[in-house]
C-alpha cells in the first residue's frame, strides 16, 4: 500500500527539472515525449537543460567509474536543477536511485561534499543538495486526481500487468512512496485510467538486466528474464507496464531474442508508465512512438484500435 506520508511530501510544483534518461532518449523516445507532454497536461511545466548528461549510474555500476568519479557527476546534474531552483523529475529507476543515494551520501558527508564542490567550483558550479529527486511515477501518483480529470482515452477493457523495477522499490526501501514488497500505486493509477489490472506470479521478480549482466552474463540474464516472461505470458496481459526504461528495454528486446533462439512465442507489448499515461491523456499516436517497440507490435496496434487512435 502507498505510504501517505511519503506521497504528501511530494510537492505539486509549477515547474520541474526534467531529467532525461539515456535508454528513453535513444531506444524508446516515446517515454521522453510522453513524459514531457503528460506533465504539461497535468499542470507541471517541465524544464529542460541541454547540459544534463547521463546520471553516470551505468558506468559506476559497471565499475569503470569509482564513486569518486560518479559523485561529482551526480552533483553536476543536480546542480543544474539547483541553479533553476527546481526539483528534479526522472524517468528511470536507475537515475532515481543513483541521484538519490549519492546525493544523500554527499548531503550527509560534509567532507566529501567539500571536495566534490571543489571540482564543481572549477566549472563555476556549486552543489548545495537542495533539489529533491522524484520519479515520474511518483509524480503521477501525486497528480492522480488531475489524471482522472484529464482522461481522454479511457483504457476500457485493456488488460494491464505491472512491473515496478528493483531500483525504485528495493533501493528505495525507506524513501519510495510504496512498500518495497507489495506495491500497489501503479495498479491504482491503471484503475483510475480505466484499465484492468492482471496479476501474475513473478510480478516482483527482477527483469533480469542486472545492470551489466545482460552484457557480461547474458545467459544468466536471459534465463532470469525468461522466467519472468513465462509468468507474464500465462497471465496474458494486453500491456506490460514498467516504470524503468532499462527494464523496458530488457523485457521488450529479450522477448525477440528468446523467440529466435528457442523458437518461443513471446508477444507481450511492454510500455512505460509515461506512455500509458500519455495514451490515456489522449496524446497523438506518433507522440507515443510505439514504432520503437519491438515485441507485440501487432497487439499494441489492436489495443490502439480498441481504445481509439
Amino acid at each position: 500500500m502507498p505510504r501517505p506520508d511519503k506521497v504528501a511530501q511530494i510537492p505539486k510544483p509549477e515547474q520541474i527539472f526534467f531529467f532525461k534518461s539515456c535508454v528513453a532518449s535513444n531506444k524508446y523516445p516515446g517515454i521522453e515525449s510522453c513524459g514531457w507532454d503528460s506533465l504539461e497536461i497535468l499542470g507541471v511545466q517541465p524544464v529542460d537543460s541541454d547540459e544534463q548528461t547521463c546520471c553516470g549510474g551505468f558506468v559506476t555500476f559497471a565499475n569503470v567509474a569509482a564513486p569518486t568519479a560518479s559523485m561529482p557527476a551526480v552533483a553536476r546534474n543536480l546542480s543544474l536543477a539547483e541553479e533553476k531552483n527546481l526539483d528534479t523529475c526522472v524517468l528511470c529507476n536507475g537515475c532515481w536511485t543513483f541521484l538519490n543515494e549519492f546525493g544523500h551520501f554527499m548531503n550527509h558527508n560534509e567532507e566529501v561534499k567539500g571536495s566534490v564542490n571543489m571540482m564543481m567550483n572549477m566549472m563555476g558550479r556549486e552543489y548545495k543538495g537542495t533539489s529533491n529527486v522524484y520519479h515520474i511515477a511518483e509524480m503521477y501518483y501525486r497528480l492522480k486526481d488531475d489524471i482522472a480529470k484529464n482522461v481522454k482515452r479511457p483504457l476500457k477493457g485493456v488488460k494491464v500487468a505491472t512491473h515496478y523495477g528493483c531500483h525504485y522499490l528495493g533501493g528505495g526501501k525507506y524513501t519510495a512512496i510504496d512498500d518495497a514488497q507489495m506495491p500497489t500505486y501503479m495498479e491504482e493509477l491503471i484503475e483510475i485510467m480505466g484499465g484492468t489490472v492482471v496479476p501474475y506470479t513473478a510480478n516482483r521478480e527482477c527483469c533480469g538486466t542486472g545492470f551489466t549482466q545482460i552484457i557480461n552474463g547474458k545467459d544468466l540474464s536471459l534465463e532470469h528474464t525468461q522466467h519472468k516472461l513465462d509468468s507474464v505470458k500465462e497471465a496474458d496481459p494486453d500491456l506490460l507496464i514498467v516504470q524503468c526504461p532499462y527494464c523496458h528495454s530488457q523485457l521488450d528486446r529479450v522477448q525477440q531474442q528468446l523467440n529466435y533462439r528457442q523458437a518461443a512465442a513471446y508477444e507481450t507489448p511492454v510500455i512505460h508508465i509515461t506512455q500509458l499515461v500519455g495514451l490515456a491523456l489522449g496524446l497523438a499516436v506518433p507522440k507515443l512512438a510505439f514504432a520503437a517497440h519491438i515485441s507485440g507490435r501487432k497487439r499494441l496496434e489492436d489495443v490502439l484500435d480498441r481504445i481509439g487512435r
Partner: protein, 80 residues
Amino acid sequence: MADNYLEAYGQETSRDVAGRTANYFQDLFSLEMPLGRMMKMMPGMVKFAAAGKDTREDLFKFMPQMMPMMKQAFTGKKEE
C-alpha cells in the same frame, strides 16, 4: 563456492591482500591533495580550459581558490 583460489594466490595470506586493499581504498577516497595527484589533474584542467571561452573564464575564476592547494601540494604542508 569453488575453492581453487589458493592456487591463484599461492603463499599469500588474506592479511597481505587486506593490506593492499586498505591502501588502495585509502588512496581512492583520500581527500588529501598530494603533488602526484595534482599533477595528474593538470591535463584535465588544461583540456577544460581549451574547450571554450566560458569554460576558460570559469576555471580562471577558480584559480585564487586553487593557489593555497597548489602550495600545499608542493610543500607538503597544510597552511593555516
